[in-house]
Structures are given as structure tokens and as C-alpha cells.
């Protein structure tokens, strides 16, 4: 019965987001972009797509970082427009999407403050989707407890900090632990919200979020080999809303090297395929690339159903991937290093 009542509050926004999705670059556009010789060429080719004149007012010579900023700005404007028009429960859903960017911004600000960078310089590097009011005040804190009481208790992320307050000091290692603990709390909360919403939203989003949780578990495990992170600490960082919970996570917590991680993935059909095709030899895709590819496939499938909120999440993820693709191509073009220019991930 969702199809009868969804359009009352969300019909316009769904139509709008599908319009934006139709503007996502296709294979032909990428073929054109790959043949560019300079960044000015790239700008010219992007003018004939949905991006039109977004780089019109930039002074030449064009920098790749400017292109990155303007690409992000366009996506943020579209997202903010939709967020402003949304009512409950879509507005809560869109807010949940922004929390992951907020977490990244907080960690960026804390790390920058530790390295004595100026706050204004750091603010410009933050992702605009994840901005919140107290961003400027982060530099006053030196322990997580102070940080929480002074700044974060008023943000929507306050409930996720309960697990981190026990840390003693903010230093390099602990920052990453804070990031992953926050992200774990966030993704489990988001998963619960989508499950409660039910219907097609739960179908699309729970699959996407369980993949994201499993991907984080794999990446955390692989990155922790050779660092001081103990296995118990590592096990506390795994989000529990994926397919790997509980057996896969327990096995991952015990893993010591890449081969054992690969062995864990053998038990799960989808992940087995991802690990099989990947490697670090030239000509093979890396594991990260295979994860991105799988995510793109899930997001594209999200558009196949109508009357659910998953299309908004899928749109944000696909635009992000498109940004990454264009920046990859722009970097290859700018540095005239065209051997791996075709390693972008095609979306449509």
C-alpha cells in the first residue's frame, strides 16, 4: 500500500531525484572525457552534460582541486534543495545520510587541530554536506570528554559518542578508533531506522547498509595488519548489521593475514567473487575497486523500485562515485599519465 500514500509527501522529490539520476554521466560521456588532452578540454566536454557551465567563472589555469570542489558543490546544492523540501520521515532519512559526512568532518577537524593547523583552513576542507553549527568550536577540546561536553552534545551525533568517551587522549591511533566507533554506531542506527520504515525502503537500504558494514569490517581488518591495534579492539569496531555478523566477524577478529581474510570471504557468495577477482598486480583491480563496483551495482538496482527512500541514498552514492571518476580522469589528464585512465568505474 506504500504506492498509494508515498506520493502524497514524497512524489515530487522522487521525480526530482530521478531527474537528477538521468543526468549522471553515461559510458559515452566517459569515452569523451577520457580522450581529453587538457583540463580545458575536460571543461568543454562537461558543458554538454548535466553539469553545463559549472566551471564558467573559474580563472584559468584550471586546477583539479577546483574541479573537485565545484563537482561537490553541485551535488550539495541539489541535496540541500531536496532536504529543504522534505517532510518526515524523509527528512530524518536525508539527515542520516549527512551524518557520515559529519563524522568525517569532525575527525578531520580534530586531526588538524592536533597538528596545529588553523581552524579556518580546516573548515574549507570539510565536506559541505556534513557541516553543523559548532564546527568552529572544535579546537578548544583536548580530550574526548571535553570535546563531547563542549561541542558535540548539541549535534545529532551525540548518541554515537557514548562508546568513545572512555578514551583517555586524542592521539593519532585513537582518532581512527574514534572514527570507526562513531561510524559503527551510526550505521547500526541507520540500519535500524530503515528496518523500521519497512517496505521497499528496507529492501534496498538494508542490503546497501549491510554491504557497507561488511566492507568496513574487511577494510578495518586488512588495514590493521602490522599496526598496534589488538584483535579485541579490532573486534569492537566491526559494525554488526551486515551479513558477516556474528560468525564472519568472529572469524575476522581472529585473522592474522590477508589469506585468512580471503578464507572468511569464501563463506559468503557475493564477497567470494569480490575477493577472487582482485589483487595488487598490474592489470587486476584492487579490492577497493571491486567494493566500489559492487556498491555501484547495488545503487543502480535501488532505482529499479519506485516509492521508497532508497533512491535518495543511491543518488548521493552514485554522484560521489561520479565525482571520484571525473577527478581520476582529470588527474590522469593533468599529469599526462594516461596508462590507468580507464580505471574509472562506469555507472550506467
Amino acid at each position: 500500500m506504500e504506492s498509494l500514500t508515498f506520493n502524497i509527501d514524497n512524489g515530487y522529490l522522487e521525480g526530482l531525484v530521478r531527474g537528477f539520476k538521468c543526468g549522471i554521466l553515461k559510458r559515452d560521456d566517459y569515452t569523451n572525457l577520457v580522450q581529453c588532452e587538457t583540463l580545458e578540454d575536460l571543461k568543454l566536454h562537461l558543458q554538454s552534460t548535466d553539469y553545463s557551465n559549472f566551471l564558467a567563472n573559474e580563472p584559468s589555469p584550471l586546477q583539479v582541486s577546483t574541479i573537485d570542489d565545484k563537482l561537490k558543490e553541485k551535488m550539495v546544492i541539489e541535496f540541500q534543495h531536496m532536504r529543504n523540501h522534505a517532510v518526515e520521515p524523509l527528512s530524518t532519512f536525508l539527515d542520516y545520510i549527512t551524518y557520515s559526512y559529519m563524522i568525517d568532518n569532525i575527525i578531520l577537524l580534530i586531526t588538524g587541530t592536533l597538528h596545529q593547523r588553523s581552524i579556518s583552513e580546516l573548515i574549507t576542507k570539510c565536506h559541505p554536506l556534513g557541516s553543523f553549527e559548532q564546527m568552529e568550536a572544535i579546537h578548544v577540546a583536548s580530550t574526548p570528554a571535553e570535546l563531547y561536553n563542549a561541542v558535540l552534545v548539541d549535534t545529532p551525533l551525540a548518541p554515537y559518542f557514548i562508546d568513545c568517551i572512555s578514551e583517555q587522549d586524542l592521539d593519532e591511533m585513537n582518532i581512527e578508533i574514534i572514527r570507526n566507533t562513531l561510524y559503527k554506531a551510526y550505521i547500526e542506527d541507520f540500519y535500524k531506522f530503515c528496518e523500521e520504515t519497512g517496505g521497499a525502503t528496507a529492501d534496498v537500504m538494508c542490503e546497501a547498509l549491510s554491504f557497507e558494514a561488511d566492507r568496513r569490517a574487511f577494510i578495518i581488518t586488512i588495514n590493521s595488519f602490522g599496526t598496534e591495534l589488538t584483535k579485541d579492539d579490532r573486534a569492537k569496531l566491526y559494525p554488526r548489521c551486515g551479513r558477516l555478523h556474528p560468525d564472519g566477524l568472529a572469524a575476522l577478529a581472529r585473522a592474522d593475514d590477508y589469506e585468512q581474510v580471503r578464507a572468511v570471504s569464501e563463506y559468503y557468495a557475493e564477497y567470494k567473487l569480490l575477493f577472487e577477482g582482485s589483487g595488487t598486480n598490474p592489470g587486476e583491480k584492487t579490492l577497493e575497486d571491486k567494493f566500489f563496483e559492487y556498491e555501484v551495482k547495488l545503487m543502480v538496482n535501488g532505482f529499479m523500485q519506485q516509492f521508497h527512500y532508497g533512491v535518495f541514498y543511491a543518488y548521493v552514492k552514485l554522484k560521489e562515485q561520479e565525482c571520484r571518476n571525473i577527478i581520476w580522469i582529470a588527474e590522469c589528464v593533468a599529469q599526462q599519465h594516461r596508462t590507468k585512465i580507464d580505471s574509472y568505474i562506469p555507472i550506467f
Binding site: N7, Y12, R18, G19
Partner: protein, 208 residues
């Protein structure tokens, strides 16, 4: 939470009905539950006008719901693909047609209703009662079939608008689905017309 309210509500209603029924049964008052008395005492005008109002009211609910479902999608899709605006008005017209079927039948039905004297012969009174039931039945037929037809056209029209915005060649194919959805409303109207075709009220009712 929704399930709790639903189950508790249904169980309260069912238990009240069971208890009332058992009370009548066990205190030897079963004769008081008398459907024949009810049908004889209620006026045929009540049935006729309930039928008339159901015809137009439910049809309009169906049409309105359908227009709301498809209209919002057309607006949303039309922002990035303005070419869909005019073609997709066809979906709105299909929804509207459903309301028109309802109003036709409501007008036909209200024209049939005439008054009859209370001292008329039994044959006339019987014919009037029969017409009252026919109009009631026809009203329900038309009302519900148009309600669901309007809903179906609305949901399909929404999909048609969004598909058209993505790929213009899809619109005509999806329109065929909408035509079938609209046809079921038409079936309801045809049956309704048949049902009222020999309904006559008033003094001349029992003439043939």
C-alpha cells in the same frame, strides 16, 4: 504499534458482537434479530440515494487519489525533463474519466427516483422496493470499480511519467497498461447501467 491497535480493535469489535448475539440466542429472544423486518421497514429511497451517493463519491475519491499519485510524479519528473509535461496529461485525463463515469451514473440514478403514494397497490410498492435495491447495487458497483480503477491508473501513470522522463520511447508502451487499468472502470459502468436499466420508481412502477 500499528499492529497492536489493529488487533485490539478487531478483537474488541468481534467479542462485543459475539456477546450480543449469544445474549439474544440464550435468552430466547432470537426472533428479535429480524432481517426481514429491517428490509420492510426501511424506505427504498434510502437505498436508492445511498447508491447514488456511493456512485459519485467513491468515483471521485478514486479519481482524486489517482490524480494525486500521478500528478506529483509528473511535476517532479518535469523539472529535469520538461518535455513530459504535455504528454503525461493523458494519465490525468484517464483518472478524470473515472469521475465522469461516476457522475453519469449518479445523474441517471437520481432521475429514476420518484415518489409513490403510501396507499398504492402491493405490486407498485414491491416494484419500488426492488428499484431501491437495484439502485443501491448499481451505486456500489460503479463506486467501487471506479475507486480501484482510479487508483490503478494513478499508480501506473506515476511510473509512466518517471519512465518517460528517463527514456521517451517507453511512454507509449506504458500507456497501454493504463488503458487496461481504465477499462476496468468502464466494466463497472456497463454493469451499473444494466442494473438500473429496468429500475422504475413511482406510481407507474408496477405497470408491466
Amino acid at each position: 504499534m500499528g499492529y497492536l491497535a489493529y488487533y485490539s480493535g478487531t478483537s474488541v469489535v468481534l467479542s462485543v458482537l459475539t456477546l450480543v448475539g449469544l445474549y439474544y440466542l440464550l435468552t430466547d429472544q432470537g426472533y428479535r434479530v429480524d432481517f426481514g423486518w429491517f428490509l420492510e421497514e426501511t424506505s427504498p429511497y434510502m437505498w436508492a440515494y445511498i447508491g447514488c451517493s456511493m456512485a459519485i463519491a467513491l468515483s471521485v475519491i478514486g479519481a482524486a487519489w489517482g490524480i494525486l499519485v500521478t500528478g506529483t510524479s509528473i511535476l517532479g519528473g518535469g523539472v529535469q525533463a520538461p518535455r513530459i509535461k504535455t504528454k503525461n496529461l493523458v494519465s490525468i485525463i484517464f483518472c478524470e474519466a473515472v469521475a465522469i463515469y461516476g457522475i453519469i451514473l449518479a445523474i441517471v440514478m437520481s432521475n429514476i427516483v420518484q415518489k409513490y403514494p403510501s396507499d398504492a397497490s402491493d405490486k407498485v410498492i414491491a416494484a419500488n422496493y426492488a428499484s431501491g435495491y437495484k439502485l443501491f447495487g448499481a451505486g456500489l458497483t460503479v463506486g467501487f470499480s471506479n475507486l480501484f480503477s482510479g487508483l490503478a491508473v494513478g499508480v501506473v501513470g506515476s511510473g509512466a511519467a518517471l519512465a518517460d522522463a528517463a527514456n521517451p520511447r517507453l511512454f507509449v508502451k506504458i500507456l497501454i497498461v493504463e488503458i487496461f487499468a481504465s477499462a476496468i472502470g468502464l466494466f463497472g459502468v456497463i454493469v451499473g447501467i444494466l442494473q438500473v436499466s429496468n429500475a422504475k420508481m413511482g406510481e407507474a412502477a408496477g405497470a408491466n
